[in-house]
């Protein structure tokens, strides 16, 4: 555990060195969202509700997505893929800690850092421009729990996909594909209630919605207690499935992994 905590601290220090780059990377995520908010602002002219959302509710949803999306979106971990392809993984396998636990420490530190920067930007925006967007939420604890579970699912499935590098030389196309599909199916573009029923029921079967949109909706106080309990249970199931899938891929991948000269 000491090794994981040290990794966490080191990554925090490392990201603090490239502050400008971190801020610019954050703005890359913020800009599309700001345009989306302007679009919805225009859409609400002369309307009170769209798909059951009022303007403050929809803005709260998108701001929450903005805060959470970099942590909770399932994506390829390029470091892992590169370690496998370059043979650098051998050096990690010889060290007295588990590689996946090490990756989780790095993921936690990067996520923590991102959350910190995001909140530093979002809180003033909310206080100055949208003071009516957020109010007291009695489901805050459940919301934070769903964020934690969503992060674990995103990590486990992202790692499993990154481990495809054991068998494939180039997984950039998979990464681009995920970058296109995941924001749509995880509710980053539109809340689930906007989608037609048949598409909504399909999306509810997949893990993506439970990683991002579900925690965002809980934190925005849009779900009933029954819906939250049901969602949390499904998140736990996805965590278990993610653990099994990652364990299987990792153990089989290690068997086919070869490197030389390291």
């Amino acid at each position: 555990m000491k090794a994981e905590i040290t990794t966490f601290k080191n990554v925090l220090k490392e990201t603090a060195i490239y502050r400008t780059n971190t801020i610019a990377s954050f703005l890359v995520v913020v800009l599309p969202m700001l345009f989306l908010l302007l679009f919805w602002n225009a859409a609400f002219q002369g309307r009170t509700y769209i798909a059951g959302f009022t303007r403050p509710q929809l803005f709260a949803y998108y701001l929450m997505i903005l805060v959470l999306q970099d942590i909770l979106m399932i994506k390829i971990n390029y470091e892992v893929s590169s370690d496998i392809r370059s043979g650098q993984l051998s050096a990690y396998l010889l060290r007295p800690f588990h590689y996946i636990r090490h990756c989780f420490s790095v993921f936690s530190a990067v996520s923590f850092n991102y959350l910190l920067y995001t909140l530093l930007v979002i809180i003033p925006i909310v206080v100055i421009i949208f003071p009516s967007v957020f109010s007291y939420n009695p489901q805050l604890f459940h919301g934070l729990l769903s964020v934690a579970l969503g992060a674990v699912i995103a990590f486990l499935l992202g790692m499993s996909l990154s481990c495809i590098s054991f068998w494939m030389e180039d997984i950039s196309s998979i990464s681009i594909g995920l970058g296109l599909i995941v924001p749509v199916v995880s509710g980053a573009f539109l809340p689930l209630s906007f989608f037609p029923n048949w598409l909504r029921s399909t999306m509810e079967l997949l893990p993506f919605w439970y990683t991002l949109a579900f925690p965002a909706e809980v934190l925005c106080n849009r779900l009933s207690t029954t819906q939250i309990s049901h969602g949390l249970l499904i998140q736990v199931i996805w965590v278990v499935i993610g653990c099994i899938v990652l364990h299987l891929i990792w153990s089989r991948g290690k068997r086919v992994y070869t490197s030389y000269g390291a």
């Binding site: 703005l27 309307r47 196309s173 681009i176 906007f194």
Partner: protein
């Protein structure tokens, strides 16, 4: 070998090198068509709930989205590769070899990295425009087609000027990749109607970074919706200034360029 033959040879080589990975080209082409399909899906879902946004209906929004996509594809096909190539060569310190060639170095880097992958996906927005014209009876003004094409070219050149302008900053600064992603992210928002912007945001998006004009001006010119001759003139003037400034900045910074090997 004459200069024009040398340039043609360079273009042929760039295309041939890209064609080496045909499966990857096919897969990436499919992904880009998917990207456009998601934009159309987004508009379909939003407009299933509301009829207009700032005076724009579904067909108009889809037409605008298609024009924005065409500009983006043309830039990605012909010029974006050269922009990232320049950045990479400066970072590695191998830009010297380009300067030693008996060709204009800006022209060389700009045309030597053709990427045919995005060009394949241009069929998506082109077919959709055709569908809107034939099936949805969206009116276009035939005599304005050449002018609209000129404005589309302006959009591509503005994207190139910004891209190259930031890439050549790598002569001075170590890390400009995040800034490059930032400008890409900003210009990727050109599919929004300009009428959703107001106040200082509109001034910024017309005169400083003309995101609000890039696709809106050609669309307005071609269809007559929200047509403003003033906007078209601004886009033409902006393009002229941007291309000249970019060339001037390039010559100025190349003169100051030093690398570890020089």
């Amino acid at each position: 070998m004459s200069m024009s033959r040398t340039h043609m040879q360079l273009i042929r080589m760039a295309i041939a090198s890209r064609l080496e990975h045909r499966e990857n080209i096919f897969f990436q082409g499919v992904l880009q068509i998917l990207n456009f399909a998601f934009l159309i899906l987004f508009i379909e879902i939003v407009f299933s709930r509301i009829s207009t946004i700032s005076g724009w209906n579904k067909e108009q929004m889809q037409f605008l989205g298609s024009i924005a996509q065409i500009i983006s594809i043309l830039y990605s096909t012909f010029l974006a590769g050269g922009v990232s190539y320049l950045q990479e060569e400066v970072r590695k310190g191998t830009f010297d070899f380009i300067l030693l060639k008996p060709l204009d170095s800006q022209l060389f880097v700009s045309i030597s990295r053709f990427n045919l992958v995005p060009l394949m996906s241009i069929t998506g927005p082109l077919l959709w425009i055709l569908y809107l014209i034939v099936q949805k009876e969206v009116p276009i003004i035939p005599e304005r087609i050449p002018f609209a094409l000129l404005l589309i070219l302006c959009g591509v050149l503005i994207r190139y000027s910004f891209g190259l302008g930031i890439a050549i900053l790598s002569f001075v600064f170590t890390k400009v990749s995040a800034l490059q992603s930032l400008q890409t992210s900003l210009f990727n928002q050109s599919h929004y109607p300009s009428s959703i912007f107001s106040g200082w945001i509109k001034i910024f998006l017309v005169y400083v970074v003309p995101v609000a004009l890039l696709a809106n001006a050609p669309t307005a010119s071609l269809t007559g919706w929200f047509y403003s001759f003033q906007d078209a003139v601004i886009l033409l003037l902006y393009t002229t200034i941007a291309v000249i400034s970019c060339r001037y900045l390039y010559c100025m910074l190349v003169a100051k360029y030093t690398s570890a090997s020089s």
